[in-house]
């Protein structure tokens, strides 16, 4: 399959590729994300995430030699200051917790990357106080991190495990369509929030898909 292209570690260069790819995807899908948000929220998710990830990329350009912890921390700090909406503290906390998990290592091995992503997920849960089924980004992130852990435990390589995570994130995002929102602005709509895909779960699926495309 992947042959020599398979990498079982994630270093700063790989993290940089991931964040740039996520920025590109967010930008490409910004109108779609905002349209989803206009149905059940305040119509700013695409524009907010595009602005925030553009700022993250600008920081990457300015600090090409940052180690994994510094790179992830810079991304998190930038997002909490530039996104503006709830996605700022949520995605920001995800990356800040990953930075803490990175510690002083030069690169993650597969298990270390999965543990860092799990730490990021725990941070999002603590920050947003949401649970799976509430129609939030967690509906994509929780199954993705679970699938990543499960695939690695089954002996899969990082690339295949991330592909499994991406599939799980997509399925989780799809599954938000019929849900009634219990968190965020969409929860004000009650039953009327059903029938729309959650914008946060949709952008999270992009995050996991770009990880699968750029890491491992």
């Amino acid at each position: 399959m992947g042959g020599l292209r398979v990498a079982e570690t994630v270093d700063s260069a790989a993290l940089g590729r991931w964040l740039r790819a996520f920025a590109d995807e967010v930008s490409e899908h910004a109108d779609e994300l905002t349209a989803l948000d206009s149905a059940i929220g305040d119509a700013d998710h695409g524009a907010n995430m595009r602005r925030g990830m553009a700022a993250v990329v600008a920081k990457l350009d300015g600090a090409p030699d940052a180690g994994p912890a510094a790179l992830l921390k810079s991304a998190g700090m930038t997002l909490v200051s530039t996104v503006g909406g709830a996605s700022g503290p949520l995605y920001g906390t995800l990356f800040l917790r990953m930075a803490t998990a990175a510690g002083d290592r030069e690169e993650f091995d597969a298990a270390g990357f999965a543990a860092a992503l799990r730490a990021g997920l725990d941070g999002v849960v603590a920050r947003g106080k949401a649970a799976p089924g509430d129609k939030t980004m967690l509906d994509a992130l929780v199954p993705a991190v679970d699938a990543l852990d499960a695939a690695l435990s089954d002996g899969a390589g990082l690339r295949d495990a991330l592909r499994a995570a991406a599939t799980a994130a997509d399925e989780g995002s799809d599954a938000t369509v019929p849900l009634v929102a219990r968190k965020g602005r969409a929860s004000y709509l009650g039953e009327r929030s059903a029938g729309h895909r959650d914008p946060g779960a949709t952008s999270t699926a992009l995050l996991v898909n770009t990880a699968a495309a750029t890491l491992g």
Partner: protein, 147 residues
């Protein structure tokens, strides 16, 4: 009188945050109550910025602590995130322990917080009074609001 409690105003809108702070200053009289506004991403872009909130908390903490009033949604999440970022902005290590995120309504809560702080009350009193700030309006309107 001991140092007054500091107050931070968090809003999605810089214009709203500043105007709310102006209202609060109306009630503090000559008392020196430190109030800082962390609102909007810039003059016109709506949003909240956790790092700016952390900086505002540091600005108004004179040792008696800080009460943070916020509007809704991301303002709440950003205020909570700001507590995690205090180290990043050079806060006194004790600042986090004496910063209270108040669930009171932004405008009414802020005015009450400012008035209470101007009397020299401690942060717990300031936050509790601000959290109960809808009481007078609710009492005045009686049952009519639910008709």
């Amino acid at each position: 009188m001991s140092d007054p409690v500091g107050i931070v105003v968090v809003s999605h809108s810089r214009a709203l945050g500043r105007a709310a702070a102006d209202l609060a200053w109306e009630v503090t009289g000559d008392a020196d109550v430190p109030v800082a506004v962390a609102a909007g991403l810039d003059e016109t872009t709506m949003g909240t910025d956790a790092a700016a909130i952390a900086t505002a908390i540091v600005q108004v903490d004179r040792g008696a602590g800080v009460v943070v009033l916020m509007d809704l949604g991301s303002a709440v999440l950003s205020a909570e995130t700001a507590l995690d970022l205090l180290d990043e902005v050079g806060a006194d290590p004790a600042t986090r322990g004496r910063t209270l995120l108040c669930p009171g309504p932004l405008v009414e809560g802020l005015v009450v917080a400012a008035a209470t702080a101007s009397t020299g009350a401690d942060r717990h009193r300031v936050s509790a009074d601000a959290a109960a700030a809808l009481g007078p309006k609710r009492t005045h309107l009686g049952e009519s609001w639910d008709e």
